[in-house]
């Protein structure tokens, strides 16, 4: 067991966020806004074919534009170290692997001049026929080496168990290509002078970004500093370094000391900042007459780019959700001429809880059971995947508590029973889950300064999660002082190493480091206030309980859906999420995280789909006008609650991570409610009006 914080005083209270005042006043400097002297501006040149190679680039007209300094191309770009991450090794070869790939860059005195000049660059291409179509029957599907875990798992004899099952569901489900779209587009300010390379970047991890840049530029990490005090959202798209960061640094290198600013346009973020792969999920469930699942299979097909393999871990949640003696999960990938797929909020888990949770709804109907009762009957005693006990698993309490609060019992069992005017009305439920991730190595520095306060430094990044605030609460309790006596600094590689803000793991990793540093500090300097200058740095110890227990957060998502009988228009007047996610450090900030996740899940359910034009090999709705995200009026009532869960095993704070679980299961709950309203089973996201036109 980990050593817990002894005192819980600041943890569990709801102070306002420490970065709130600066943000509402417009005075929080995001990456692009760090003042630098006489910046130049870089604008990427992007491939307008989806496959082939650049035969020649004519930059004469671009160079003639007033204020243009240089045009970087594969012919003249500084060399990079190759062989590690092809996404980042830009301008080193003439090959084009996807439409929108960076094939050059204009650097000019103003962004307008750079952008204009980029349009004047004439590129001669040698085209190859491109292939951007994902299908589950492609002959070239391959098994990825791993999907963070094993790509395939199999226990027992699934096919035989399915053949003998009293109740069976076998169907194909599809999720759409989703784009992260944090409100802040991806931006970098790069300064490369005698001191080395300084990057002000919109990143989720200053240290991980530094490592990636050091690698590709073959630089010692000590020569690079990355700063990111304020980041305007990320949802995974800022979790790994993308090509534009390298481009900004290349341009800065060429400009010998003059700072270079690069901001991707919204449209560019659709091809250069990662996105969630579309998935095809073949789900099979077989159960006995009591609804006990005997066989469970989830076979996933998804895409990756040719530049870099990224395997979305879509079948992962099915390995831990429900008990079943016969189980199979597989992942198969198609390598296409498409932009690089990457992390998006709850990667794998979010799309992977759509197909199976709709299938559970279908199985409940086949078994004549309430969908909540079906889930309760299949609660495992131990993690079906590893055989380990759960540190805590309170899915059942979330389902039951949510049902009470939502008014589930009043629901008619059969679909298509309730009509008010033009509207068919229904309700649906789905489970939610997200693993507790641990990453090693995060450290924190604690220093008592002359101002009488304890200054805590950790190279974490607050992308809007509230980490900055929450870490101060944790530090106060770990040190045994008031929250007002703690000052936290984040977002700088000059601070001790911190893992990336991803996988809902920030509080676990950085909080554990702070608790370790605080305990070390007290052991060294005593419990009374030590003199100014007393300083201690310590890393989070390994948590042996991670080997002994399966650690996951759980939740239950409820939706009420109205579908117009005339037009098929679908509205979601009510969402409720109940979560079991360990100790909640700051209820005010946590509620926003849950609500925001659920709303993004609603958005995924109803709106979000990057539409590929197969002729051009590009996503045509690549802006916020056409790629719709949920807006104010889409969200009449969203409520998030949580149960008071105490988990002594996960980490010293007892927290499980809350940034992602809110989006998991929402889309399935909406689709299940739409079925209950109309009797039309939609197995493909987004759930749009046309799906109901046959109703």
């Amino acid at each position: 067991m980990t050593r817990s914080i002894e005192r819980v005083a600041a943890v569990g209270t709801a102070p306002e966020r420490v970065d709130g005042r600066a943000k509402v006043a417009g005075k929080a400097p995001y990456a692009y806004e760090h003042p630098v002297e006489r910046p130049a501006y870089a604008h990427p040149i992007q491939a307008t074919i989806a496959a082939g190679r650049v035969r020649g680039i004519d930059t004469a007209r671009a160079l003639a534009v007033d204020g243009v300094h240089t045009v970087l191309t594969p012919d003249n770009a500084p060399p990079l170290r190759r062989g590690q991450d092809a996404e980042l090794e830009i301008l080193q070869a003439p090959d084009v692997a996807f439409r929108g790939q960076i094939i050059g860059c204009v650097v000019a005195d103003t962004p307008e001049a750079a952008r204009h000049a980029a349009d004047l660059v004439a590129v001669d291409y040698e085209r190859r026929d491109h292939d951007v179509t994902l299908a589950s029957d492609r002959p070239d599907l391959y098994r990825p080496g791993e999907v963070s875990h094993e790509a395939d798992t199999e226990d027992g004899d699934v096919d035989a168990a399915l053949a003998g099952a009293a109740a069976r569901v076998e169907a194909e489900y599809r999720t759409a290509r989703n784009h992260n779209n944090p409100l802040e587009p991806h931006t970098t300010v790069a300064v490369w002078d005698a001191d080395g390379l300084t990057l002000y970047d919109s990143t989720q991890g200053v240290h991980s970004l530094r490592s990636a840049v050091a690698e590709v530029f073959d630089l010692d990490e000590s020569r690079i500093r990355v700063l990111a005090p304020y980041v305007g959202g990320g949802f995974g798209s800022k979790g790994t370094a993308h090509a534009h960061v390298v481009l900004a640094a290349l341009a800065a290198k060429r400009m010998s000391g003059r700072p270079v600013k690069l901001a991707l346009t919204r449209q560019q973020t659709f091809t250069l900042a990662g996105y969630r792969t579309p998935t095809v999920q073949r789900v099979a469930l077989g159960a006995d007459t009591d609804g006990r699942i005997d066989a469970l299979a989830v076979d996933v097909v998804e895409q990756t780019s040719r530049v870099k393999a990224f395997a979305e871990q879509t079948a992962l949640p099915s390995r831990t959700m429900y008990a079943a003696p016969h189980r199979r999960t597989t992942h198969r990938m198609a390598a296409l001429d498409v932009p690089v797929t990457s992390w998006m909020r709850a990667p794998g888990v979010c799309p992977g809880m759509f197909g199976p949770e709709v299938a559970m709804d279908e199985l409940a109907e086949r078994c004549g059971l309430d969908p909540i009762e079906l889930r309760l009957r299949n609660e495992p005693d131990r993690d079906p995947e590893t055989g380990k006990p759960y540190s805590t698993r309170n899915l059942a309490e979330c389902l039951r508590g949510g049902a009470r609060r939502f008014g589930w019992d009043a629901r008619p069992a059969a679909p298509r029973q309730t009509r008010q005017g033009e509207w068919w009305i229904g309700t649906g439920v789905a489970s939610s889950t997200y693993p507790v991730h641990h990453a090693p190595g995060s450290a924190a520095r604690i220093e008592r300064r002359a101002d009488g306060r304890y200054h805590v430094g950790v190279g974490a990044v607050d992308i809007g999660t509230g980490a900055w605030t929450v870490l101060g609460q944790i530090a106060a309790d770990a040190l045994g002082v008031d929250r007002e006596d703690v000052v936290v600094t984040v977002g700088d590689t000059a601070l001790p190493f911190a893992s990336v803000a991803g996988g809902s793991s920030g509080t676990t990793n950085w909080g554990s480091a702070i608790v370790a540093a605080a305990h070390g500090f007290r052991a060294r300097f005593g419990d009374d206030d030590p003199p100014a200058g007393s300083e201690h740095t310590e890393s989070a110890p390994e948590n042996p309980d991670t080997e002994r227990f399966a650690m996951h957060a759980f939740g239950a998502q409820f939706a009420e859906v109205h579908v117009s009988a005339d037009t098929g228009e679908i509205r979601v007047p009510r969402l409720l999420g109940v979560f079991a996610a360990g100790r909640i450090v700051n209820p005010r900030l946590a509620r926003s995280q849950f609500l925001g996740g659920m709303t993004m899940g609603l958005s995924m359910a109803l709106h979000e789909e990057g539409v590929m034009d197969e002729r051009l090999g590009m996503v045509v709705n690549h802006d916020l006008a056409e790629y719709h995200v949920a807006t104010n009026a889409d969200v009449p009532s969203v409520e998030a609650e949580w149960i008071d869960e105490h988990d002594p095993h996960v980490n010293p704070m007892g927290t499980k991570g809350i940034g992602e679980i809110g989006i998991v299961g929402t889309a399935a709950a909406v689709a299940n409610a739409a079925y209950h309203a109309t009797g039309v089973r939609v197995r493909e996201l987004p759930v749009t009006a046309d799906r109901f036109l046959t109703a």
Binding site: E16, K23, A25, L595
Partner: protein
């Protein structure tokens, strides 16, 4: 070209402005006021909302030259020194701020709504803020913030 305008009560001048530049660019890159955010460049997200002669507008859709001789008020001009405007304070109190990138535009839009309608209904708030996208909060807390600001005024 040269652009003369009043920003947050001060006479300001920007020189060598290219005719194609937006008011947003002039504010952020020439006048040192990066509070208004650039998130879509097409008036879809509302993050760059400012008052232009007392009317809220997406600064990304206003050509710099159109601002000649006019009054602009940005999010930086709402607070009275260190004292936040009630709308700003309510956003902090309600937990309506997360990453903060949509916040300046939402604060200006909500500020404008409350000048016109001191006690708006949920529907009126949703309508007034329909042009402001938020990817983090799920909007619920933004509604709470506007109601709470209405009560504080």
């Amino acid at each position: 070209m040269r652009v003369n305008l009043t920003v947050n009560g001060e006479r300001r001048r920007a020189d060598d402005v290219w005719e194609g530049e937006s008011l947003l660019y002039v504010l952020r890159e020439r006048l040192g006021l990066p509070g208004s955010k650039n998130a879509c460049e097409q008036g879809e997200c509302g993050s760059c909302t400012v008052y232009l002669d007392d009317v809220p507008a997406c600064a990304c859709l206003v050509a710099a030259g159109q601002a000649e001789g006019r009054e602009v008020r940005t999010v930086e001009g709402l607070a009275d020194g260190d004292a936040l405007d009630p709308v700003q304070q309510s956003f902090v109190d309600a937990g309506a701020v997360q990453c903060g990138f949509c916040t300046p535009g939402l604060v200006v839009a909500a500020h404008d709504l409350l000048r016109r309608e001191p006690d708006p209904s949920d529907e009126e708030i949703r309508e007034a803020l329909a042009g402001n996208l938020c990817r983090c909060t799920g909007y619920e807390k933004i509604l709470d913030a506007v109601h709470s600001a209405a009560g504080a005024r």
